[in-house]
């Protein structure tokens, strides 16, 4: 089995998630054979043949069988080319890669999901998974913020979650916006306001480095232990299987031993992220 040979997937549907067209979601279905099995938090290396590969977190949940969902931020060669692709185009996928969120460890506990900007991709996967297995988990709280309403991802899912009674959803934007009636403020501030209880609870944080920097102290203040706080790291990746060397933090590879790490694990590693 060649770990560098991708599986071919076809683009089934595309939709722009953000109003500035930088964020686009792709629903992919396999050309031959079955869709891959994965757990929330894992990622895939998507190949645009001729341009290259890039890692993307899987945004769909394992039980969503119509296809794999990825949300792509347009920043360079591969992502630019991907954005230009339409339904019917073939791409390659290598995966699932990485360790995923410890959903088994979360069983019986409450989960606080904190996301910022377009880092919400794998958190969508996680939230849907928890909801699908609702009775296995305690209280589910989601705090998700973006710079402005037009940059929030998965608006349809967010609307559905708001209607449900078994999940507490807090959405926020950085500053006042016309017709926005929910929270206003940065994610760490909203977290402090909502103040979820750390008792029997885990926290999962994904977002830009600056958001994480200010969120972690709030979690500590609220009483969340370091081994109960998880985050998903991003790095420049190439092989995705811990061979090319570049995504290492200390002796561990973000692609293979991560990208999900607990704070307790990260404390012992060099601050190279």
């Amino acid at each position: 089995m060649n770990p560098y040979a991708p599986e071919l997937y076809r683009i089934k549907k595309t939709v722009f998630e953000s109003d500035d067209f930088t964020l686009k979601s792709f629903l992919l279905e396999p050309v031959n054979g079955n869709m891959m099995d994965f757990i929330p938090g894992q990622f895939c290396e998507i190949s645009v043949f001729g341009k290259g590969e890039a890692p993307f977190g899987i945004a769909s949940a394992p039980h969503e069988k119509e296809g794999l969902l990825f949300t792509v931020n347009r920043v360079g060669l591969v992502t630019g080319a991907l954005h230009e692709m339409e339904e019917g185009h073939i791409v390659g996928i290598r995966g699932p890669l990485g360790n995923g969120y410890p959903v088994d460890e979360f069983k019986g506990k409450s989960v606080v999901i904190i996301g910022g900007g377009f880092a919400f991709t794998t958190l969508r996967s996680l939230t849907l998974y928890l909801l699908e297995n609702r009775k296995d988990y305690g209280k589910i709280t989601v705090i998700y913020g973006a710079r402005r309403p037009g940059l929030l991802l998965y608006k349809e899912d967010l609307a559905n979650w708001e209607k449900r009674g078994d999940i507490e959803l807090h959405l926020t934007v950085d500053t006042e916006f016309p017709e926005w009636d929910k929270h206003v403020g940065f994610v760490p501030q909203v977290l402090e306001k909502v103040a979820p209880s750390p008792e029997n609870a885990y926290a999962v944080v994904c977002g830009p480095p600056v958001m994480i920097k200010f969120t972690l102290p709030v979690l500590a203040k609220l009483g969340f232990e370091k081994d109960k706080v998880y985050t998903s790291l991003e790095r420049r990746m190439k092989c995705g299987i811990g061979k090319c060397g570049r995504c290492n933090i200390g002796p561990y590879y973000v692609c293979k031993d991560g990208p999900v790490f607990s704070l307790a694990q990260l404390e012992k590693l060099p601050k190279e992220y």
């Binding site: 290259g52 360079g76 060669l77 630019g80």
Partner: protein, 311 residues
């Protein structure tokens, strides 16, 4: 001369006039004189200088932008400093220039490889380099192993300095006979030489990193949008890499020769850079690094510029 350099460095560091002194120290193994950053008065004792000190120290200046720096500068080093100043990369008043007139540097890597055996000791006596190996003593002529830019150097003395160490020397001068020799060959021969040299390249970028003029944070080689050069070792990519770099050097390269001297594979590069320098001098009367106030070569044009290459 070495003692004078140390004395000056000791004084500068001791009085806190500078944070670091950029000089050279003896390397591990003979024929090696490597760049050294002295930060304390104790470290000054390691400073030395010899014709084996090949690296142009101006390369290190941009990284010490937040410090006051003293730098050991030969003619070509001061020219490089002028170019860096004219391109807004460093400021004159942040550097203390210890000027040192230069008699040329030796092609150390090439000499080491030609000796072949372990070199135990090296000294320069009476215009000869005396090399002791476990088996014998070899003598080679200093002039035969001079870096080619040094062989025809017009600016051996520092163009400016805060203090001068040693007596000014007479330029060897002589223009660009090496370029003219190359030009006498016919097109096929020239292409063959060019291809042969470029095929040796392993894309380690030692040339680029050692050049004081290559300070771009994002080099064109790393660009993916647009992809100017592809990864890999296809000869088109190797040749384009060097040709484009030489063109980026036009009017900026100060002909110190460091690029060719440090190349681990011994790729000849000076025949390209010196040709461009010769063309600029002959056709546009432009020599790089003489005046920091003057705009860069590609930063200005005159109506009477030669245009015969356009048609």
């Amino acid at each position: 001369m070495v003692e004078k350099i140390r004395e000056i460095a000791r004084k500068l560091l001791g009085e806190g006039k500078v944070d670091v002194v950029l000089g050279y120290e003896k390397g591990t193994g003979p024929l090696s004189e490597r760049p050294f950053v002295a930060r304390t008065v104790e470290e000054v004792e390691k400073l030395t200088y010899s014709p084996f000190a090949i690296q142009n120290l101006a390369t290190y200046l941009p990284r010490f932008n937040n410090n006051k720096v003293a730098i050991l500068a030969r003619g070509c080093t001061t020219r490089a400093i002028n170019v860096l100043i004219s391109e807004g990369q460093i400021e004159r008043d942040k550097i203390y220039v210890i000027g040192i007139p230069c008699n040329g540097v030796i092609k150390t890597r090439e000499l080491r490889e030609s000796i072949g055996e372990e070199i135990e000791d090296v000294s320069i006596q009476n215009g000869e380099i005396v090399i002791k190996t476990p088996k014998e003593e070899k003598k080679v002529k200093f002039e035969d192993w001079l870096n080619i830019s040094c062989k025809y150097c017009e600016y051996p003395n520092p163009l400016f300095y805060d203090v001068l160490v040693g007596e000014e020397v007479k330029p060897r001068g002589g223009g660009y006979p090496d370029v003219e020799e190359y030009e006498k060959l016919d097109e096929d021969e020239r292409w063959e030489i060019f291809e042969a040299e470029m095929s040796k390249c392993v894309r380690c970028y030692a040339c680029r990193q050692s050049c004081p003029m290559c300070y771009c944070e994002h080099c064109f080689v790393d660009s993916t949008e647009p992809r100017w050069i592809e990864p890999g070792f296809d000869k088109t990519d190797l040749e384009s890499w060097h040709l484009i770099r030489v063109l980026h050097m036009a009017g900026r390269c100060v002909d110190c020769g460091t690029c060719e001297l440090v190349c681990p594979e011994g790729v000849k590069l000076l025949f390209l850079t010196r040709k461009v320098a010769r063309d600029l001098k002959r056709d546009f009367d432009y020599v790089s690094g003489l005046n920091p106030e003057k705009p860069p070569f590609f930063g200005e044009f005159r109506y009477d510029d030669k245009g015969d290459f356009i048609l």
